[in-house]
């Protein structure tokens, strides 16, 4: 790699050719603040927070997009630079709703941090006419989130990730100049558009302008009602990220502490969505083999990710028949709790409040879908995000980091290594392959690691010779990648038997409901790899690593569903899809 020599603040720095000043400075452990910049996603040099002085340059330059050159001399902290950043912050604040005390992002707001670092105490300096007041109305039309444009700083990160990464593009900058506002076309509420509820916009928003609909109060109300039997389930990816909310390093697996916290909060039972991930594999592997052997619709595409499902319904309505009819693991466990478990325990399903903790915002949309009520009442009542769980833990005064490890409750808490990797892109495929291959060949696999489908690449392909059949599979995460893959399938350019698609880039570990990773970390670390590693490590350390060897799952079939794909299984564990339009 060709290296370029520059000076930053008088010190020699070497950085690869093609680096920006921001990247080169980072190599020298100098953090230049940013607001609009998201590496590879939003490189527009618009916010002017990252300005630096370059010797010989006519004016201050935006370091996030300015490439380095041999002999360049950069100054990142001169009075001119500091004053410029201060003025930029003052101007942003002059049109910002400064109601920070109860703001959902207070404490991890990127704007708030900069204002603190730069001591912007005269925040009303440029107060005058404000568009914040025009923007006081919240957009609550979507099932999963709220947009509060009075907190928007027009960085356009949300629009960039929606259009450039997810290929959805339902939000963007409209009008111009002082009237610019981030909204949807023709003032449509987000709920009227073809927004897929992935929540990636929430994940990248630097302020409190976009946030999930918070249902923690509903959970507290249910917990205080003596009539209600309140059950909670936690998705695989939650344990790999929840610790970040309590200051633990990215990639810390906090499964044990999380279970203890949920018990302390007072849930009657703490179950694991990993159990129903195993159940999903049983049903989906059966469905896959059935489609292969009986000439069913192929490729079969996974249905675990509700953001992906909604995307498919809006943007690929002709392919909804390719979707597995399996409910997502969240909904499967909800259905099992209110049918099998309720019957076993003699509880009226109407008195059960089923809560889920998900890395996902689309799950809030999913709980309200049609055909998701196996017992005649919704399978899941309240879907919380990882962030909401952290808020709940804080509100209950639990010292999270000091907790002992707890165990999930039986029987819906037992799971295998195959289930926990559902949280990372390729995990569902790998888990399905472990079961499908052993079922087809009738022999035990020598190695359970299908490494071709692991990793953070957007699209992965592999093929396996199984019992005389060449099984071709593909994995996509991020909806832009999903679109690219499906376009190839539709044009006949590619042909697969089985496809896994996750709406969020990297899978659920990077879901829209996960702890927000500030841009200064996001732009320079692969936090997704770290979170995924926590799950793969847990899989590797598991004694049982194949879904079909989960003893509680076997018992569930013996006692209730008979066999995968049975009529009863279809009633409880499978669902239907609709065709939607693009708005």
């Amino acid at each position: 790699m060709e290296m370029i020599n520059i000076k930053i603040n008088g010190a020699d720095v070497q950085a690869p050719k093609g680096s920006t000043i921001l990247e080169a400075a980072r190599l020298a452990n100098i953090d230049i603040p940013t607001l609009c910049f998201l590496k590879d996603i939003n490189e527009i040099g618009a916010c002017r927070i990252c300005v630096v002085e370059v010797k010989g340059a006519r004016s201050l330059v935006a370091s996030c997009v300015y490439p380095i050159f041999e002999g360049m001399e950069v100054y990142t902290n001169t009075p001119k630079v500091i004053n410029s950043r201060k003025k930029t912050l003052q101007l942003i604040l002059s049109n910002h709703n400064r109601k920070c005390l109860s703001c959902v992002r207070s404490g991890n707001c990127e704007l708030q941090k900069l204002c603190k670092d730069y001591k912007i105490d005269d925040d009303g300096l440029y107060d005058g006419s404000k568009t914040v007041e025009d923007n006081a109305e919240l957009d609550c039309s979507a099932a999963h989130m709220i947009r509060d444009n009075s907190k928007c700083i027009l960085c356009r990160r949300c629009a960039a990730i929606c259009a450039n990464v997810q290929g959805v593009g339902v939000i963007g900058a409209n009008e111009r100049g002082f009237n610019t506002v981030l909204t949807s076309a023709f003032d449509m509420g987000l709920g009227e558009t073809s927004c897929v509820s992935c929540g990636q916009c929430i994940a990248v928003c630097p302020t409190g302008a976009i946030y999930e609909k918070d249902f923690t109060d509903d959970v507290i109300a249910a917990l205080s009602d003596p009539e209600k039997y309140v059950v909670v389930q936690t998705a695989p990816a939650v344990r790999a990220a929840l610790g970040e909310e309590f200051g633990l390093p990215i990639g810390t697996n906090v499964q044990g502490k999380m279970v203890t916290a949920l018990k302390k909060i007072g849930f009657d039972k703490v179950f694991d969505t990993d159990f129903s991930a195993d159940l999903t594999i049983m049903e989906e592997a059966h469905e896959f083999l059935d489609r292969v052997q009986n000439g069913g619709k192929l490729p079969l595409i996974t249905s675990c990710s509700p953001g992906w499902i909604k995307f498919c319904e809006h943007y690929f309505p002709d392919m909804t028949e390719n979707l597995s009819s399996c409910k997502s693991p969240q909904q499967m466990l909800g259905a099992v709790i209110k049918t099998y478990y309720a019957e076993k325990m003699g509880i009226d399903p109407k008195n059960i409040v089923s809560v889920s903790v998900m890395p996902c915002t689309a799950k809030k949309f999913e709980v309200g879908r049609e055909d998701q009520s196996a017992a005649g009442v919704p399978d899941v009542d309240i879907a919380l995000t990882t962030r909401e769980l952290a808020r709940l833990i804080n509100r209950y005064g639990i010292e999270f980091n000091d907790l002992e490890d707890g165990e999930f409750d039986s029987p819906l808490g037992e799971s295998t290594g195959a289930a926990v990797i559902f949280g990372a892109t390729g995990g569902v495929m790998e888990a399905a392959l472990r079961t499908a291959v052993e079922t087809l060949t009738g022999e035990e696999l020598a190695s359970l690691d299908f490494t071709d489908v692991r990793g953070m690449q957007g699209i992965k392909e592999a093929s396996y010779d199984v019992a005389g059949l060449n099984v071709k599979v593909a994995v996509a995460s991020g909806l832009g990648n999903a679109r690219e893959l499906l376009n190839k399938v539709q044009s006949g350019e590619a042909d697969y038997h089985f496809i896994e698609i996750m709406a969020c880039p990297g899978g659920c570990i990077n879901g829209g409901g996960q702890p927000q990773v500030p841009a200064k970390v996001r732009n320079f670390t692969d936090y997704r790899e770290k979170r995924a590693k926590a799950l793969y490590d847990q899989d590797a350390a598991s004694v049982v690593r194949k879904s079909h060897e989960n003893e509680s799952i076997k018992k569930l079939y013996e006692e209730y569903f008979e066999k995968p794909g049975s009529e009863k299984a279809h009633h409880c564990l499978h669902t239907t899809y609709v065709k939607r339009t693009i708005n």
């Binding site: 259009a163 939000i171 963007g172 409209n174 076309a185």
Partner: protein, 164 residues
Amino acid sequence: MSSTKCSVPFSGTPEQEAKLLEVINSLRDEQGCLMPILQKAQDIYGYLPIEVQTIISNELNIPLEKVYGVVTFYSQFSLNPKGKYNISVCLGTACYVKGSGDIFAKLQEILGIDNGGCTADGKFSLEACRCIGACGLAPVMTVNDEVYGRLTPDEISGILAKYE
């Protein structure tokens, strides 16, 4: 701020749509084709309502929001048709200091439309303009080709009544 939703029912004809599709097909392979397509679409329809923007979005396979973002960014594009009587109020410096802001506000109030809007019956449209070279008569407005000068807000309803 221009009004973002059109109050006048869409009455595009199949001929107009065929013409638009022809324009799109002739330009779709060119880089940056959205601007010329929008300009020609406005020539065809006179304005760019959601129905027209949706055709463009579907044909070019780009999000409607992206089309809308461009349309609302440039003042040359209009989301509303011109009314039978198009009212322009000068908000240039001379007129503005003589109170044309109040004239404009009065018109918004009486007609119930914002800048760039059109009344539901298609009769009046309202827009702000810059200097029309009649500063001596400030504040000035025009209704189609007729010029009204030295206006006060109280005169507005009387003037509009002439066009009822």
